[in-house]
Symmetry: C2
Subunit: 612 residues, 2 copies
Amino acid sequence: MDERELSFWGWGYADKFPDDEERRELAARIEGSLGFPERPLLDPPEIESVSVPEPRLAVPEELAGFCTTAKRARVGHTYGKSYRDLVRGFHGDFSAAPDVVARPADESDVEALLAWAAAACVAVVPFGGGTSVVGGVEGDLGDPGNGAGIEVTNGDGAGDVGGVGDDGDGGGDGSDGAARRAAYGGVVSLDTRELDRVLKVDSRSRTARIQAGALGPEIRDQLAEHGLQLRHYPQSYEFSTLGGWIATRAGGHFATRYTHIDDFVENVRMITPEGPFETRRLPASGAGPDPNRLVLGSEGTLGVITEAWLRVQPRPGHRSRATLRFASFEEGVAATREVVQARLSPANCRLLDANEAMLNEIAFDGSSVLLLGFESFDHPVESELDRAIEIGESHGGELSEGPAHEQPDGAEDEGDDTAGDEGRDGDESTDDGRTDDRRVDDGDEAAEGEERDGSETDDWRSSFFEAPYRYNALVSIGVMADTFETAVTWDRFFDLHEAIQESVGGTMQEVCGAGFLSCRFTHVYPDGPAPYYTLLAPVEPGRELEQWRAVKQAASDTLIEHGATITHHHAVGRVHREHYGQEAPAGFREGFRELKSTYDPAGIMNPGVLIE
Amino acid sequence: MDERELSFWGWGYADKFPDDEERRELAARIEGSLGFPERPLLDPPEIESVSVPEPRLAVPEELAGFCTTAKRARVGHTYGKSYRDLVRGFHGDFSAAPDVVARPADESDVEALLAWAAAACVAVVPFGGGTSVVGGVEGDLGDPGNGAGIEVTNGDGAGDVGGVGDDGDGGGDGSDGAARRAAYGGVVSLDTRELDRVLKVDSRSRTARIQAGALGPEIRDQLAEHGLQLRHYPQSYEFSTLGGWIATRAGGHFATRYTHIDDFVENVRMITPEGPFETRRLPASGAGPDPNRLVLGSEGTLGVITEAWLRVQPRPGHRSRATLRFASFEEGVAATREVVQARLSPANCRLLDANEAMLNEIAFDGSSVLLLGFESFDHPVESELDRAIEIGESHGGELSEGPAHEQPDGAEDEGDDTAGDEGRDGDESTDDGRTDDRRVDDGDEAAEGEERDGSETDDWRSSFFEAPYRYNALVSIGVMADTFETAVTWDRFFDLHEAIQESVGGTMQEVCGAGFLSCRFTHVYPDGPAPYYTLLAPVEPGRELEQWRAVKQAASDTLIEHGATITHHHAVGRVHREHYGQEAPAGFREGFRELKSTYDPAGIMNPGVLIE
């Protein structure tokens, strides 16, 4: 993928940005279907007209071989990929660019860089694929809304970090935080992408030792040589790394039984400013608090994750899927709850409300849609699907037309072909559906489950992996496009859902004059769902971040007030820090800060993330 | 159970200690079958002849209502239930008795006690059911082998804790530890048993809010009123508490999919010396490192767990079970690995080596035995069992005779009756096998899965829950009887297993002149098993602890050297502290100590456990 240029301001490949005609069509569609006022066609930025501040740092000669201050590298490491990031990038604001981008080739490079940074009091921001949507990879310690850079000293270690706002998203325990905060001589973005190898496969234990900078497809391709898969597919899969998944507790699909990357991590290795930290490779342990769980979710504040042993599995040759429609969302919720509480463990169990079904072009009649999929590499899974359908029907669900259920997976042969949907599955129906090494997945593999849920869902695959691209276009036509996600117990879900409609819907109306909000369950658990909300609203160029902040604040406040979590899998970063402070148990962040000081006494690791 | 007197020195009810004739028979059987020399018949201790030191503390009047210095209470809170504890108790050595036993009635009592203890520098040892086998509930900060009490000051807060040995099990980072160690004015054992209520059931989310001092059967009985079960059955089930399970990351049966209590904990509430700590009630979250995982495994070092929301479920009416025999252990291991890697998720998947099968009177012909059980409250599970049997047979396994497989569970009716085995299941076959509230479990419920694995396994139930009783008798006839357990990846298992035979077997021969060692897998994971070893050896009265220490040291050293964990579910306590230090990642214990200081700045909470 190095040959194909990545967008310097938006999601994914640069050449996928739509031309003016396509954007005009998109605008017209949105104006028509969502009732938004006429949208402008804004010109995307050009790299030539973008400027970055002079680097405030010079790295020592021994580090220079893997460090750069080149503008393109710094621009590409300024932001993650949230709506807020896209807006800032689209407007060509890269004032918060890191001073240096380091791309270590191995752990000793990482160690050398951290040693120098700790001594020089330079902030180090680990950067994997750079797909954070919570301000997790930016060197901006200030107000997450205003794009101000760190106000730095001259590297003498004295002074304080300025520019820290106290608005809703950025602030928190200001006075205490200010006293604790160190001064930084600058910011290094530490890019882990050189560490992209599957180092070892233990086929007996079904585990693989993988470097943290490997992207989803790189892991897939290397494991395929051994007939194995990780089967962890976050939406950012194509452009995000194993280390990022671990640092942020990424959520994957296919997933009701194995949801977060947490479930796959057998061991993890991290370079901290005080040296290597490595957990023992174990299937399980009861020895003290789980040290893997300290690294999972630490978001780069303790060190740089360099590799991990992951639990892998053969490719599932047995699959069965179905799509059910419900006249009401409430019925769909009841069915989903019963399916997951029956512990049927579908690989895919995704409920879309009417707006979400419309957005994904699956249903336009006000139906809610439940996508169900089961899979196993070992044994047929039709009976599980049959039982799930039975449950769905008992709640008023109607099996959708299409081949999904009529042609479920064969027990041994024909594998997972439900046929018909653009013929993309034909190349996989030639062997016995078990663990054939020749069955190397193509790039479509990750979305197969969704893609085949029924003939009417042929847009679901693109909805899933292409959705982030659509955000590039939306930003360019003055549409706020953001998502937020949570998890909550079943007894609180409907209250939360109603409150979200009111607060987020109301705020969009108030601040933007219109708004669209949809909901799907990306993951479900016996004790509650993980609802994922998508919002669209017309914004005024130049006022986007102010308008976004109001909507984001309403969403986050409502989640916390209603007993939900501020994030199920997007992480905390800088954007969710204040609300995370309200969610975390009393003293937890203080305790974590004390613990962090053991590994990072100079406080250089990703300052501003999780804690002040 | 309060009406029935508990043994003051051994496991369980006092009246279950066998009489001389039974003990003579046991000795004869062991001498005969294991080739041990003639065993003595030692007189068990009597409470009247036991003495405890004068209490070194007087609690303030406002705490007196729930505190006692009565001898019987102090004796009963001196030790856990390990072999080492039984030996010390058997010899009437209660010199390490806590000064005070507190039995708070509510959280405000706990808060008041901790406030006083922190100010007076009194060590507080949380005590649930007192079933620790790792020195987790004793107020003895000294050499875990010698039973020496804490050498305390006069409560003035100065001075140092003496009596800390540096032998294999107790020591570690001596000099550093000594410098950090606070001085204690005495020890309070904080018994949580008054907090024994199921406070609330949320049937929609299938969760229950339960107080931490509730014993297994108390939880069972209260949940049964709602037609629900926790289905977490540690071997100590009858006498251990929810809070203890959480603090030590207890392992339960039935369990391959849900193994540790960790999997059931939705939220946890703990009173620390600095105030309440409560995690948010959530089905899942990606917000920072999981705070539940900080409490899970903290072993009382941060505070007193008072309650938790647990994931519960209806009683499984669908069950299927089978027993397979293998001519070799290696074949049994291969079959077990394939079953669990096929992700069939048996509720029970327990492999016994030939010695273990003999010890449990299941097989005497050198066979290894695999017990398999599947269960669901929602749907039939015969096909899973069929597939598991197929895998087992492909590795040379032979289905045992008996009704287990010939009469698998009916789909809807007749529930889980495999009939025949003492008729104990007859009273449960009258309804539809689903969630009938009338189907309140009796005390046998917890062991049903084992009990019904085949007609020849009618001793398995008693093996599981009665085994700890047998240890009382063994101590009284000069037999060392201990267990240790671990988890390791599949690729390392056979090397470990061989090394354990050599080191532990060899040490028993060397130190005791004879020895018996058996192994079973209590839990299995796709990436490795959790082997559980039982050892028996003849010991010399008076030298038991010295001999035990040598064997224990050999076992623990071998686990750590071979990449295994020092404990899969017995916890760390004081006994495993040194080896835990070798297993934990660099800096982890130091970091944890820093974190602990946030919640327990005076260092009064269970000092000596996990960390120095």
